[in-house]
Every structure is written in C-alpha cells, then in structure tokens.
Amino acid sequence: MSFRIVVLAKQVPDTHNVGADAMNADGTVNRSALPVVFNPEDLKALEMALQVKDRMPGATVTVITMGPPRAGEIIKDALNRGADDGFVLSDARFAGADTLATSYALSQAIRQMGRVDLIFGGRQAIDGDTAQVGPQVAEKLDMPQITYAEELLDVDAGGISVRRRLERGIECVKAKLPVLVTVTSAAADCRYPNAHRMLRRAKDEVRMVNADGIGADMDRLGLKGSPTKVKQIVNVVLSHKESVVIEPTEAALGELSATLIKAHIL
C-alpha cells in the first residue's frame, strides 16, 4: 500500500492587502471585501509534504480544506504545485465552526480515507491565529503530534525526523508513523505551480464533500458543535500613556531590570 500524506489547508483573507472597507461598522470582518489567499503556513506545510513525496517514491499527497466552494481555489493551487488529490468539505452544516467542530470534521474526513501515514498542517491560520486545529485533529485521531516544525530532516517508512523551532532554541525530534506535524513560517517556501500541471487541470472541477460524506455526528458540526461564543471583538491599540521612555543610561537600564524582575517578567 502506498505511503499516504494529508495536508490540512485553509483559504484565508489576505491580511497583507487590506482595503478601507475590510471591517464592518460593528467591528467584524467584511469577508466579501477581502481578497483571499492560501494560508501562508499551510503552504509551507504543503511544501514539507511534497518534500516527503520527493523522497518517498509512490507517496501521494491529498489536500483537505473546509470552507465555501470558492475554497476549491486553494485545492487547485495545491494540485498545480504538486499535490495528487484534494477536496473541499463544503456544506452549510459546517458553517460557523470553531476549532473543536472544525477539527472534528477534518478528522472524520481523514478517517474515511483509511490508513494515513503523515498529516501536515500550518501551525496556525492568519485569520484566527489559534494554532488549535492541528493538535485537535491529532487528538481526535489518537495520533502523536510534532508542532512548530521548520525543516524536514529525514523520513522513511518507519518514521520522520524534523527540526522544531522553539522560543529558546531548536529541537530535533524523531517520531514513528503515523504522526501529525504542524509547520511554522520559518519552513521552506512552497514551490511554485507548474505550467504543465496548470494546463492539464485547468478544466477539472474540484471535488466537494458534504457532511453526509464523512460519516459525521451532525451535532458535532458547525455552530451546533462549537462551544466557543464570541461576546465582543475589541480593537486594542496601546496608547501613549501606557508606554514609558527609558533613557539609555546604566542607571535607567538597571532600574528597568529591577522592575521587570520584581514583576516576574525576567
């Protein structure tokens, strides 16, 4: 049986190209006014998956996303970059999902695929910044996980080694398969699409899968399956009076250190 790799991806608003009409008057995001892109860290995850495929002849990469039909654009993009297959979990019943419901839907979709050797995903999406979906998918599939991966070191049928980037240094870890890996922005950029693949697949329709297709418990999907309730979104801007100017002198810096130590920050 061939080596199977899954990549979890998300189509997100392009926060680098935000126009004046990007926010609604009530403080929520006006999604219709924002261009959308492949979530940057998911693209890095795709590249790591493709690197595994390069090293493992016969390996296949399947990309899964959840979203409206338009999210098929990133599946097509992933196929043009080298993925073998992909589909969108698209159904009104998935709408309004928080990370719990999203990870449930994704894990159900992966279960339907049978044996999977590796799952890659970006550490987090630029619209939510939760970094919860990857780890929750691993938990639901009862699979070990490696987070914050920045480089693929080695892979074979028995296991994978990656380098992790942590706050205070790096860690090189090895895990047995199957395993889920979340990838940070420090990882290698994704390869560009290939023109021949683009032309060959230009007319292909992206496969859409609905809630019935993943054998899901409907109560655990979408808004219904999401315990997260957003009470209010506040735009926090630090004002001038909350900042303190420290003079670059020995005495002032010493005082700053003492203050930070006292506050248990250092």
Partner: protein, 554 residues
Amino acid sequence: MNFYSDNESLSFYLRHPEMEKVVAVKEKDFSEAGRHPEAPASAEEAVKQYDLIMNLLGEIAGDVIAPNAEAVDHEGPTLEGGRVRYAPGTRRNLDVLIQSGLYGVSLDRRYNGLNLPRAVVVMMAEMIARADVGFATIWGLTDCADTIQEFGSDALKDKYLPRICQGATCSMDLTEPDAGSDLQSVRLKATYDEAAGCWRLNGVKRFITNGDADLHLVLARSEEGSNDGRGLSYFVFDRADGGMVVRRIENKMGIKGSPTAELQFTNAPCQIVGERRLGLIKYVMSLMNGARLGVGAQSIGLCEAACREAEAYAAAREQFGHPINQFVAVRDILDRMRARTDGARSLLYETARYVDLAASSRPASRVADILTPLVKLNASEFANRNAYDCIQVHGGSGFMKEYACERLYRDARILSIYEGTSQLQVVAAMKGIASGAYLKQIESYEARVAEALAADFGIVSGAPVSELKHCLDVLRKATAAYGRFYETAAVEGTSSERFEHSTRALTDVLGNIIMGYLLLLDSLRDARFLKSCKYFVKESIGQVSRHIAALENC
C-alpha cells in the same frame, strides 16, 4: 508583486483581436486538440491558457527574480576551474523557472514545450527583463532551441529539445575577436572527423553571453579556403562532451549577472545543424531576427522598470511643500517615459504577431522583416533614454548606488549594441525604406483607422472622436512630409552620401509615425493609450519638419 497583473497593457495585447489568427497558426488549426492533454481547442481557450501562464510568470518575476536582481548585480558570476558559477540569485531564478515548466516554452509539446507563440514568449521576456535584464539574457537564449526545431534533423531535435525543456541552458556562439558586426569574417574552424563520425571545432569565441551554457550553437568555418559567409555552417556543441574551456569572463559595465565569456574550443566534438554553408546566410539570420525581437522585449522591460522607479520616486519625494510629480518639468519627463514605453511596446507586440503569422504567410513574413529592426532600434534607444530620465527624476539621489535607477542605467547601455547595433538596424531598415514597404504598411494602418472612425462601432474605448481624428490628420501630414523628406534626401540617388547621411533620420521618422498609428489603433480599443499616441503624433510631425528644413537649408 505580480508583474503581469499589475500591468494592464500586457493583458491588453494578449487579447488583441489579431491574436485569434496567431493562435490558429501556432496551433495548426487546433490539430492537437483532444490528442494532447495540454492542447487548446479554440483561440479563446488558448488565450485563457496564456493568461494562466503569464500570471504564474508574473508572480515569479515580481517575487523571485526582481528581489534577487540587486544581489546578482553585486555578486555576479565567478570562474572556478574553467567553469562559470552563477550568482546564487541567478541559480535560484533558473531553478524556479525550470521547476515551473517555464523553460523552452516555445517548443512543441512533443518535446515537453508549451508551444507558445512568439507574441507570448516576448511578453514573458519583457516581464523577466523588467525584473532583471541580465537574467533575461540567460532565459532568452533558449530561443536557440527554436533554430534547432526549425532547421535541425529529427535526431538532433529528439536529442536536445527535451533537455532544453528540462532546463539545459543555451548560448549562441557567434562573435570572435575579429568578427563582431562583420560575422562573415568568422574563423573558428570546423572539420569533419571521419573516424569519430562527428565534426570538431577549433578556435576562439569572444563576448559569448552565457558562455558556459550546457548547449552551444556555434557558427564556424566548415569550408576550408573560403573567406565569406558562404563558407560558414552551424553546429550544436554539448558542453558535457568536453573540448571547450572558458578562458575568462568579462568584467562588464552592466547586465553583470549574465556571464559573458571567452571560449577556447580544442577538437570539441559537435553536430551540424541543417545544411553546410547555410550557417550565416540562413540560420544565423533567422536566429538573429528572433534575438533582436528578444532585445526589443528586454528593452521594454527596462523601460517599464525605469518608468515605475521614476513614478514612485516622484510621488514620494517632496520639494517646496509638494510631491515633485506635481511640477510640470518633472511631469513632462514622466509622461515622455510612459509614452516611449507604450509606443515601443505596441510596436513589439505588432511585430511579434507578424513573426507568428509569418509561419504561414509570405506577406506577413515580409512585414515581420521590416518591423524587426524598428523594434530593436527604437526600444533599445528608448530604454537608454528612460534610464537617463529615471536618474534625472531622482536628482542627486539617482547618482547614488542606493537606488535601482543606477543599475538600470548601466544595464540599458548594452541594449543598443548587442544583437546588432542601432546603426546596423538602420542598415537593415534601408531595404524597406527604398522599396516603399514601410509606406505600404503605414497605408494599411491609415486605412484601418479611417475605417473605424468612419463607422461609429469602430471605437469601443470611449476616446473623444475629435481627438482621434486630429491625431489621424497630423499623422497623414507627417507621412506626406516623410515622402518629401525622402525625395529631398534621395535627390542625388539612394547611394549618394547625402542619402546615407539621412538614413538614420528617415528610420527615426518612420518609427515615430508607425508607433503613432499603432497607438491610435490601440486608442480605439482603450482610451488610456491616447496620451502616448499624441506624444508620437507630435514627435513625428515635429521631427520630419525639422529634418526637411535642415536638409533644404544646409
């Protein structure tokens, strides 16, 4: 940044009405549709494919090649043990383009090419040159493959063309220490080795762009005792077969990322392309015309880059309490830069379409032949002027190394020299001037504009009809004045010194009139070209009047 989607002019020319015919010729009336998974079934589908490919290349040009340009210019290639090592940025550019399938793009699908017409290939060259002219020379040399595809044997094609699509780099080895513009003087010897069943090269080539390429097309003297162009044949040399060393790489003023090498061939095995004795008179001439169009594309890429650098600086730089683009003196420079870019671009794509149509039409081939020197001449001279003006807009800052404009200024300088100097383009234009072929082409443009203006439905752009008509009137006057200029210059015959001294001016006037007409035709479809059209209208009438006055009075 995407160099395709941020430049509306490119999709405008990709969707030019004549592209339908171009596609039909290139796709051989869609004979591969249904038989090859990438072949389009209609012109509309083909243009959609081109659009996808242009978007991909535009992204790579904007996000990979352009950001690498400064470091590549600084580091340049190095010579290590007789081999050229590209600057890291150059290597990265090549790797990305090869992996993306954007190498050898004009070749047939059977060799894993994309079968793109010339009008699309030059658009890719323009975008790459906007990012880095030096790198555009390396990418553009895959045009050598077209010569093999057109004139080589099937065995040669099967052996080399798939390799080029997989990323084998190319060079065109013509120049020697004593054979520059005068290629008939080439001395590098080619002798047939009966025992080995191959030809062997001995001698030196100089100023070879991308000189350590994987595959070389070499012009060499195969006919012992001959001393003119009829003794030259064309050969393909595979670097992997040995017999060639890179003696040095030149320390150039510009396009520093592109290795320009001196090569020593010693019994280097090679294979002949096409027939003996046709090397210069047929194959190099064909290759050279393609290369001149390529330099036209490089020049327009540089024109565009210079425009954008100048426009951005003039919008940001404030003096006397205002951005400097609000001052008429600066605004005039910016408008001239934009007009030159628009005019040369319109001429480039018009010529490229004729080159594509030439594959199935003798009249189209004749038009392609007369327009090609005009593209090379005007675009490369405009690139130099735009680079000069770009520094002028930057003022003192432009003289410092911090801004891209100084690199553009250095890179532009070669454009009016290599692949035939501006002066040689004037010589190439003479045939069309003397035969009246340019005037015939101008008449066809005049008729198309007049017809469109006579019928209401001919104008879809919303440009004011009175202004379009005025442009047409002035261009007619300029054309009539050109006729008088020609008669006055040729009063002592076309081989007189008086006439020879006027040839550059005649060619310049023709170029301006033709670009004026092309932009007028473009203005019928899109009003944004009208401003640049008016620039050429004014230039052509002013220039021709000045030349006539000078000739009649001095």
